[in-house]
Symmetry: C2
Subunit: 342 residues, 2 copies
């Protein structure tokens, strides 16, 4: 499959590009007027995330308005816990809330996993077909999933948390049950991502959003082996891994089968290259708060970031764009990157 | 001043000790029965934090029940914003909430700072006198303050936040006003800590709890210079600095005038020694979640931590003890450390 704008894929083919490709985490979301209109027209977030036509619409909007180099299929990482048997809601301004949670090892017996679970996600795969038709060969499409530890954390906590101490407590108190659940989640993610690729997704990104909560030894026991297993099972498309905040684990990722690592705004790229070598492709890492600054300052920061990153760089923020960001500021960022030449 | 148990001070005097000293962040708090009784007897957190007799009572309780090597004066980092003019409340299970906040540079004009502000904190100094009388020469007393960036963040946000994006936005939008406010906070902290020392505090700890929110360049502009200024102005007692989560700044702390650095559970001590040298005293860093595990596992983890840390170590957790921790598990930890020999 070839696209009019393939600069993102070219980076993974090790072709020399004249500038870094750019897309923005949460680009399809509340910063855009079309998204807000669609969101206001439905009963809630869950209706949007399960409606293939609406998903296609909000997924392509950033290509048209922001001019990013790739689309990312609108979805939520919590579709995995849901298809495994834990229903959730998104409470406006608060975040996810689960109806029931895993509070003891016995609760895991009620879950389903793998193909059986993924079969419940037909709407996601249908939305890929619809989105690809709307994109019509202009740009590649990214698909994503949460990483096992991050999904595990939500399944235990039942929502967000400052410390994720319930989930971490479960790891210390029930190590075997934890491994059993992480295995089931991983198996489900593998089927899910393979299916997404079959339907036409061109790249995948795995988000370990709560990587930063775990001490090194726990991350090495309860997260990284599952990430490695998933990334090894996914073939045929480039794979980006985002272990948010897990700087102390980066030296342990030499054998992680990823094609790019996405880093937050607190992680210097020099640190990553020191530990993972010069060949690794780095995605990131402008502070999303910088988009609140004046446009000249945003331009200066974008140039500084590109200087610091050098080649083998995918421009992105260090985290999802904040919902109250003025989207013309995002346009300024994207124009700055797109007119830059190495 | 000499104490029956001086092991914590001995570490700073570079004396050889037979084991690491131990105290626990938030040791005077909800894990203890006496604290809960006192807390239930008052109208709210604010009454407790302003009552010298009650402060003395909850401060000495961990010496008696847990057997820690030092007491830490019960207080809150938000007494500084309050004495500068921003009143707050602590909402049970939610955390701090301010009545008014700094939302524009003009709001800073309404604040007071330095001696004038600290003069409102007579109850803190009175509580030191009462606590010292209760301790009666058995153990040293630690006093603490929040660091300027962390207090600034609360003053802008008006409470806790997952991203502290309002506070970070203020830094990008109003850099001069930010420096003005950080200067006023620093000046107030200096007077506050000097006064605490005058009243008999034997060590101080500066908490930069939200250090981890800032990218390197912002931390170097808006936090570290103020920390350095405060620590340089404080003389005569050992100084511990806790830049929570700010691992990427540690290489920039070579000239920070601290006697010990406190680290969270995600920061390996080897990383600190690599950047700050073998002489630095390291405080920390057991994951507070580990105290939920079984007692044999807590003992094993404590031994492993002491092995990893070696000498020049003050045993502590990597963050405050979680309020629902069983205090007999904390006793197990403390007994393990106190019976260990290098």
């Amino acid at each position: 499959m070839s696209y009019k704008n393939e600069i993102l894929l070219d980076v993974f083919k090790k072709k020399a590009t004249e500038r870094p490709p750019i897309w923005v985490m949460r680009q399809a979301g509340r910063i855009l007027p079309g998204y807000r209109q669609v969101r206001a027209s439905v009963s809630g977030f869950k209706e949007l995330v399960t409606s293939p036509d609406l998903i296609a619409e909000v997924t392509v909007e950033p290509l048209e308005i922001l001019g990013v180099d790739a689309a990312i299929l609108f979805s939520d990482i919590l579709v995995i816990p849901e298809c495994m048997g834990l229903d959730y809601e998104i409470i406006p301004k608060k975040g996810p809330a689960f109806e029931k949670v895993i509070s003891s090892p016995g609760d895991i017996d009620d879950l389903i996993s793998g193909r059986e679970a993924v079969d419940r996600l037909g709407y996601v795969f249908e939305s890929i077909t619809k989105t690809k038709a709307r994109i019509n060969g202009s740009n590649p499409l990214i698909g994503f999933s949460g990483a096992p530890w991050t999904l595990f954390a939500y399944m235990i906590e039942g929502g967000g948390s400052k410390t994720f101490s319930k989930a971490r407590r479960f790891l210390y108190e029930h190590p075997e049950a934890s491994h059993r659940l992480l295995d089931m989640i991983s198996e489900t993610i593998i089927v899910y991502l393979q299916e997404k690729i079959k339907y036409g997704v061109d790249l995948v990104q795995l988000f370990d959003s709560w990587a930063e909560m775990l001490p090194v030894e726990q991350y090495l026991e309860f997260s990284l082996p599952y990430v490695n297993k998933i990334l090894a099972a996914i073939t045929g498309v480039p794979k980006i891994f985002f272990p948010k905040g897990a700087w102390s684990i980066i030296p342990h990722m030499k054998d992680t089968p990823m094609d790019a690592i996405s880093i937050d705004w607190k992680t210097p790229p020099s640190y990553v290259r020191q530990h993972l070598g010069d060949d690794i492709i780095i995605q990131g890492n402008m502070d999303p708060c910088y988009l609140y600054a004046s446009q000249p300052r945003i331009m200066a920061k974008a140039l500084q970031t590109m200087d610091e990153m050098g080649q083998r760089h995918i421009f992105n923020l260090g985290h999802g764009v904040y919902p109250d960001t003025d989207y013309t500021h995002v346009q300024t960022l994207i124009n700055t990157v797109k007119t830059h030449r190495y």
